[in-house]
Amino acid sequence: MSRFAGGFRDGRRRLCLPACFLCLILSLPGLMSSAAFPQSAPAAVVAKVEVWVDGAPNTENLERLVSIRPGDLYSLSAVSDSIKQIHRSQLFSDVVVTRSGVESVELRFGLTRKLIVRKIGFRGEKGTSGRKLRNSLYALQEYAYFSDEKLARATEELKMALIDEGYFQPQVRAAAKRVPGAPQVDVVFAIAAGARYAISAIRFQWSAGVPKADLKKAMKTKEGDLYSLSRLDQDLARLRALYAKHRYPRADVELTAEDFFPENGTVSLLIRVDPDEHIEILISGADVPIDLVLPIWEERIFEEWGLGEAEARILAYLREKGYILAAVSSRIEREEAGIRIVHRVDPGQKARISNVRFEGNSHFTAGRIKKELGIADRVLFFGRLDGKRAFELTSEIKMLYEIEGFPAAQVGLQFSVEGDEAEAVYTIQEGRQQRIKTIEIAGASLFSPEMIRSQLSIAEDGPFFRPFIRREIEKLSAFYLDQSVRGTKIEPRIEALGEDLFKVIFNIQEGRMIRIQSLFVSGNRTTRNNVVLRELRVKEGDLARADRISLSKQNLERLGIFSEVAIEEIPISESAEHVIITVREGERNYAGVGIGLETRDTFRSASSLLETSLRLRGTAEYMRGNMFGSAASLSFVTQFSLSEKRVVVTWQQPYFLFNIPVETYINGWVEAEDRTSFAFEREGISVTGMRPFFWGFDMLTTLGYARTTLTKLEVPPNEIDRQFYPYSKTSLAPSFIRERRDDAFNPERGYFSSLALDWAFPLLQTESDFLKGLFKYQRYFTLVPRVLLGSTFRLGLGMGKMPIHERFFAGGSNSFRGAKFDELGPEDPESGIPIGGKALVLFNFEFSFPVVSSLRNFSGVIFYDAGNSFFNRSDVDLRDLEHAVGLGVRYRTPLGPVRLELGWNLTDPEKRGRPIAFITIGNIF
């Protein structure tokens, strides 16, 4: 080492010490202040606010989320409030705020974006299918937010799922891998399912009640089976049910010991059974099932209550069967092993209630009471009031009066019996009616009292019913929210103004009107932002109207591309809030397959089914949703059967061009159909737009081109068919639909009307030149519960050059049940094969009724159809309608009824007397 280096080092050392001392002196005040108080400086001003996301400057204008602005006085509590507002947006898992500067403060908000799970995978010895593992996950799901806590919970859920499958000590390790460049993670669970044990012995520790052999027999788990906890739980439930059947409803059955033998992979189980009290139930005097009352005694209850409840159930059961004068008396007898409950029943005379009468009612007419309570007059054999309902009506009538301001109304029920018919007489003591004299609105300044009053359902001089006041408060609260006012408190005050008159005062402590300062959209990885924003009915700067915010949420849900939509309002000041829209994109791929059998042969009897040639019939479809993030979908559907083959490609989007709000479908299809008189092949393309019209109608308009080639013609070709082969058509088809049925598949009330026009015009060398329209009206009535009357009217008219495949045909299960498919209407004079026409008239009437009261989905039907198809419009004559009657049964399914019907044609002398059978799914249309 040189003397210079050593000297230099000494010199450096001499300089360092004073410098350090100087640093210490300079920093001492800072050190002292940070020790005494948190890092703040009085009167410091915020000069700059930055927002960084995931370690980089944000590019999404997220400064709007921060309520601190440059120029504000710096304050820790304001920083804390800002952090909480950002956190409430649920977009970020962490927020760290750093400060630099003393008097002129620069704040940086460092946000960590919440991660979304992109994919969940499983590897290793899974022990069960990936689908079962995926279904067992609730804490963590694809396209949902990720957190370490959720990952830990998901790991436990998988372990429990494997344990339920019979695996012991399963090992599950989770790994979350961040997707580069995106706030997403892929989660992989590495699974070692563990060992499974076979059950070597099932032992019981039990005292009495059920023989041990019966216990083992009742269990599905047997010695030698693989041990599964979930399966054993089901067996324990079976044993409890078995004990209940042997009159030990309180039996306690539990697994008390599992002895594992890892060396040979077996486990021995010990099940303890405590039968508890033996409960014998005797019901004498009537045939009432014990199971009706046994569940009452499964828990330890107050015995008097139990007897009362049992008597109520027995009486309800008997009354429903027509024993309206039944009476029950009960007692409990104590025995050594338990208790005996004795119900002595006097059923009385069985009678059917043929009439309902009211006495003492002056405020309500009898008709009004019946209408309000749904008491229908009898229709033929149907609609009788059953005894159980007759007794329930007493409290319902009382409630009806209370709602109308009669708090002291009393209702009694008596029966006047003659033979096996009875009249139910309700004796009503109305009492005095309480009314509202005045309604006062106090404390409101943002809106006029008249405007607030108009939100109320109660009125001055109207009936007073205390529970409705709470409902009115909810209405007023909703009104204020819809007017963008938050924080409103409404308290009622009710003053008695003398006998039966009240003053109702609504004291309103109004909140403040709130504006939307910023709107944020989150969770859309595929869907474009403008697709989301387009559905919103609020924007930045608008008043925060709750009804528009709610409508925005409904619009987003209606798109059908999100499995979850949440809209969060985050107050940032007394007059402003942020609105955060968080969506979770749903599954995009759907596929379906349907297969059936069909035959052309006529089905005459069960034995002929064996000789019938059956062919496969099927449908396959695939749909991909949210194409290009635009909420559009692309689907492929193919159908094949003996008589038709079809491939349809459809592009559907919620808006037309330039965001015009018309739901649009673009269809392309290739099809081949084999009808009675002809067969054709067709290819075409169409564009359909659908949108609500006015007067409650929806309008569909279709512009299309189709090219049809007749491959078979069983009748002599007419001029059109001969001249234009193949036949090309360009058409414009508007339709107007008004749907007011309660259920489109199984309607019971309401109506449906539609007008479909098809204007085919010659364009681009196409041959089409006709106009046709089809009007349809349907009406449904419920006469009494489950007794329905339905009617359908159809009128079709056409003009111009209509080739055979465009004409109206009728006949079959969905139009006229007195003729086979397409066989109603004009026929070729030589071959007798239907040729269709330019006019169609159809009437259908159906009366359906329950066949077996306990089978609610099974009903019988009688019907009357009338109609015809006419070659020319001028041929339409109601005297030429054919008539058919028939009957059938139907079974209701969620997609409509399965119908089995027999129809008799009353008009055609050749068909008279011979029924035609139809099997169909869906209602007539």
Binding site: S80, V97, G101, E149
Partner: protein, 209 residues
């Protein structure tokens, strides 16, 4: 170089973490500032002079317990303005007037801004009192045992003659009831906390050290 680095590190102009999310309770954030404010100001009505100061971690745990109880219990416990005023006076009473204003200013707070903290403390105490304030029984044997094993030795250790059991019984009973209620409350709060979703960000807590 070292002095320059030292100067830079100590200079207040360098970025410093001033606040962060220290915990999440059932989806709601607790910031470091919240915990500091509670540590700085909040004391319960039973606080006595001479009680040892609480650490930041202890304050955080108590704040989490309060949030968990208030969230999960969901009973509508009313807190009156008088109650918050009284507790605020208790909080103020520990400081000189000037000190009080300085401490408020350090956080950029007005007195009114302390009300949410005050209400939370009162609501928590009332909830516990509602559940465990009454119905706690202490047996005669417990009192006697406490008298023999705790009270008498303690009094003697202070050089005092222990009062007879008859005179000390009421005081001992109160003390035992209070302890028992406290133990029951602690167990209950612990069980509620196990049901709640609580996440503590230790990294944020480190920033305060």
């Amino acid at each position: 170089m070292a002095p320059v680095l030292l100067l830079l590190w100590l200079h207040p102009g360098q970025p410093q973490v001033v606040d962060c999310i220290v915990a999440e309770v059932n989806g709601k954030a607790l910031t470091l500032t919240d915990v500091r404010i509670l540590q700085e100001f909040a004391i319960g009505p039973e606080h006595k002079d001479g009680d040892p100061p609480v650490t930041l971690r202890q304050t955080l745990e108590e704040a989490i317990n309060r949030r968990v109880v208030i969230d999960l219990v969901r009973e509508d416990i009313e807190v009156t303005k008088k109650e918050t005023d009284d507790l605020l006076l208790l909080w103020k009473g520990r400081f000189e007037a000037e000190q009080w204003q300085e401490r408020l200013a350090a956080y950029g707070l007005q007195e009114e801004a302390l009300r949410p903290y005050l209400e939370e403390v009162i609501r928590y105490i009332k909830t516990i009192d509602l559940r465990f304030g009454r119905g706690v029984d202490v047996s005669r044997q417990d009192i006697e045992r406490y008298y023999e094993e705790e009270y008498r030795p303690f009094e003697r250790s202070l050089g005092r003659e222990p009062k007879p059991l008859v005179q000390a019984a009421a005081e001992i009973e109160d003390r035992l009831k209070s302890e028992k209620a406290g133990q029951q409350a602690t167990t209950w709060v612990r069980s509620l906390r196990a049901q709640a979703e609580v996440r503590i960000n230790d990294r944020c807590l480190e920033q305060a050290r």
